[in-house]
């Protein structure tokens, strides 16, 4: 399939990825490794197999289906050897309990568009549209431009949810096709950023300045994460930096939740973060106040 990419999920009635009622498209592949990532199934560029042990009934159908002998039933229990798995999906197609799921479906822009256009009435009535997320969708500018063209020809606005760590030329190419950027700013301190996400944030902040200068419409999203950036000093630094952007719009503070933990187990990954309580409401309110003091239009989302 020419121009197709691996899509992990098409989420309709998505309400928290930009304004209005939206459909969010999750593309596979990311070049950050945030310790708190709640979409770990999208880190790899290629498909991955999720195994939800709790749903498995040890029926053994997957054992027969797998050409790699990755599944075994031992003493009535299911043992999965992930190292052998080549993510062909054969086992998932015979598993009837939902215990096995192959994430990543090669989807052409046209096929994608056919799904996206189904909710056009809801986009129109609510000021919503389509959001590309991931993973890091900005790593796939050609694909997104293709899909965005189709959408915008039908008056469907397109947003891009990005972590910012891609060469600026990608954004330059995307700019004319994107109505709104959802841009993550995780912290200001580069070494802190490097420690928690695997890369420092110099390029990310630079890109943001450049996008601002280029006149892009954007919403800043700041995940507030215990242990990482949920302290007033760091929030203060972020706020001060954001206040230097002349064309800034809305700033959303996103309190951390332990949503993704189950998915780590299903992927055989370790969860990089200790299980944390979300930041307290008092802290969020204080942080919000701090942003507003800097003249920022901020909200807790």
């Amino acid at each position: 399939m020419r121009g197709a990419e691996f899509v992990s999920n098409i989420q309709r009635f998505s309400l928290d990825d930009g304004p209005g009622i939206r459909t969010t498209v999750f593309l596979k592949g990311c070049n950050l490794r945030c310790a708190w990532c709640h979409n770990p199934e999208n880190l790899k560029f290629s498909p991955v197999l999720q195994f939800f042990q709790a749903s498995c009934q040890a029926c053994g159908k997957c054992v027969k289906a797998c050409p790699q002998n990755a599944h075994r039933i031992l003493d009535g229990g299911h043992v999965f050897d992930r190292d052998l798995c080549e993510a062909c999906g054969k086992c998932a197609s015979v598993c009837r309990t939902g215990a096995l799921k192959l994430v990543g479906d090669r989807t052409s822009p046209e096929a994608l568009f056919r799904e996206l256009v189904k909710d056009r009435h809801y986009y129109a009535s609510s000021g919503g549209g389509v959001t590309f997320s991931g993973g890091e969708p900005a790593l796939r500018p050609g694909y997104i431009i293709e899909a965005a063209r189709l959408c915008r020809a039908e008056h469907i606005p397109v947003a891009l949810d990005t972590a910012g760590n891609v060469p600026f030329e990608n954004y330059a190419a995307l700019l004319p096709h994107i109505d709104l950027f959802l841009y993550d700013v995780k912290c200001f301190d580069p070494s802190l950023h490097a420690r928690w996400t695997g890369v420092d944030n110099r390029l990310i902040l630079e890109n943001l300045r450049a996008l601002d200068k280029a006149g892009a419409a954007y919403i800043i999203r700041v995940p507030v994460i215990p242990q990482f950036n949920a302290d007033m000093g760091e929030q203060e630094r972020i706020a001060r930096f954001l206040a230097t952007l002349p064309n800034r719009g809305l700033i959303q503070l996103l309190p951390y939740h332990v949503y993704g933990v189950g998915k780590y187990e299903a992927l055989g990954f370790d969860y990089g973060l200790d299980r944390q309580a979300p930041p307290s409401a008092e802290f969020m309110d204080a942080a919000l106040k701090r942003y507003r003091q800097s003249g920022l239009n901020a909200e807790i989302a």
Binding site: R12, D16, G20, Y122, A124, S126
Partner: protein, 780 residues
Amino acid sequence: MAAQKLEVSDRVKAILDHRHDDHDRSQIPTRRPIYEAAFENYAEEGRDIRIAMGFKRFLAEKKILIREHDILAGFAYRYTYKPSFPFNLPDDYDPLYRPPAGIDTCQEAEDAIVANGFAADSVEAGEMRAFAKCVSKWFYKHWETGHIIPGYEMLINTGFGGLANEARQRLAEADESRKPALRAMLICLEAASGYILRYADFARDLAEKTETPAYKAHLVEMEASLRHIAHGPARTFFEAVQLIWLAHEMLYAESFPASFSFGRMDQYLYPFYVNDLKSGKLTDAEAADILDALWIKFGITLHGYQNITIGGLNERGEYASNELTIMMLRSSRKTLFDQPLLCLRYHDSMPDDVWEESVELLKTGIGLPAIFIDEFCIRAKKRMGHSAEDAANYALVGCVEMACPGKEYAKTEALRINTGKILEIMFFNGKSNCLGSTGIIGNAVDQSLKLTDDHGEDYVYPLFTGYRIDAIDDFRAMLDWYKEELKAHLAYAMTSINRLDSALPKCYPTPFLSVLIEGCIQNGKDVTAGGAKYNNSGVNLCGLPNVADSLAAIQKLVFTDKRYTLKDFQDAMKADYVGYEDMLDAIEHDCPKFGNDVSAVDDIMAELVAAAESVVNGFGNPRGGHWQMGLYSVEDHVKMGINTGALPDGKRKGEALASAVSPVQGKDVNGPTAAVNSLLKTDLSAATNGMVLDIKFSPSFFDKTSHHRALRMLIQAYAQQGGGEIQFNVVDRETLLDAQIHPERHKDLVVRVSGFSAYFTSLIRETQDEIIKRTEHAGV
């Protein structure tokens, strides 16, 4: 999120705390002997007069009640309704639980055979008996009384005295044929005035005894009001509410209160409210207390389907909400009862305060308000012959049916058809694999409804086309056959109801209800005889999403993939899929399901509805009205499901059918917009008797205020694309599961069932399971 229950005033709290003291079960069987005595004394009179005399005597003798701390006088019971109507309700039901109640259709059919002049061994008599049997086996469902919005608005502005004057005048001019009905109505009107005067005396006596000064003062005022409204129209907000309640209470005395509803209460009470505020007679706090007190009276009748409609466009096309709209939403949030069913008329121009207040109520999880789309409903009423003005004034009755307040005798629940069972018996030459349990009503299996001859599994249901399953060799033929059977069943069942209806004025007239429906006094005709301005009948389809999924599975597995044959389906259904697990797998995973925005199955649904409409549209009834079609199921999708065997969509024997035209429970996996889109491929304007789309949200959905707006936008898009009704369930799964294990901890848990809300613990187990299985949307 923590949905907020609102506090009530101390005065209202006293009423709330004592509300269960009023139950006096000894009252329930008092009606029958009084009516029987009146029937005997007036043996030489016609049925109208005898029933009116029964009513009069009963009102003169029945217990009445005012509590000193209460704001309103009165208390309503459901009685046993024989001998004026063939209705089964046990003498000793506990009003704290839902009464097992139902029409005795076998008796009704026998009465109608005689009244219609059919010979006992005629073809017609045979058809009517067969129909009644199908009803008792939940193949069809038939309901008779009480889905109506009486002319309470007319009453508060005219008074019983005004109505009696008019009836006297008409009687003086009437020809002989109209005199009995008019005399009966006049007897009822006089009885009603007398009844209110009894309350006035009660208030006077109580005022003398009462020691609390504030109560005493109120009782003195109450007495004066009661003496006035015994004949006169209401002068104040209080009098309007009091008169409505007492008229409601009297309707309970006449016939089973299946769904006596109130129309657009925020609209017609508003002038009284404004006047009283201006003249200083009333404060907002007092108005709220009066409404709360009324809400508590409603709450006594579990499953009373007492609808109150709020908001909506007025005759000038403007959205008409006011202070009372908000107050009524709050009364529901203060009480959190299953009653009244609050219905919000939606239009894009609805102000934000009404929506925000509605969201606060939705958040509590009680499934209220249900939301009705004005464009859809007004169009439906016009299509059924209502004038533009009357159509714009529609309100809700029953679950989701639109009716013209005070002008319409539309028997919206006259008939429901189990469309799933039609498909089942097509595989077995008219037989079903499910004996089921006949006569399940409420929580109880009512033995008296059992058929005298036990047909068991060998009972042969009617099939009309003469085709056989083994002769079907392509999908078109299968689909067309189903459509033919569906149409034939509709015609047969509607004809049967028409025959029952022809007998109504002769057998079970309701003269008191007639005085509260405009046109009956003027025409000198009982409502059952066509006295009202509008006279339609409703037929409702149940289980259609299962049929659509079933036919889609057959199309895919038998005719496209050729993995199975129709014979395989027949065998699997007979075995209830035991030993056919692979086939169940294939149905589950490889076939499209309604509710996911997949045209292969959504288009089948559209075709089924269009086929049904082609018969219903234009089918007349004996009152000069027409039949209208509904796509809602009350709770009957559960009861009909219990009485239906396995179906090709993977439904097992005894499992619930889909609720209304919502996706089969748990089969919609693409979110609410996909579910809505699936449904909108059907031309819903066919649903002139109403429809239900049930969407379930987890409580956390409401955490964010941005989601409140999104929900409104979902409704707006639904409205713009032709949707009719939408309602929301907001209780999480864990709570519901816990309520099954520990019902005692969740006595006050109210949930949306289908077109109505109810206490979860009052529902039969199968209905509870059905609600738990519905897909829950989080909004991500």
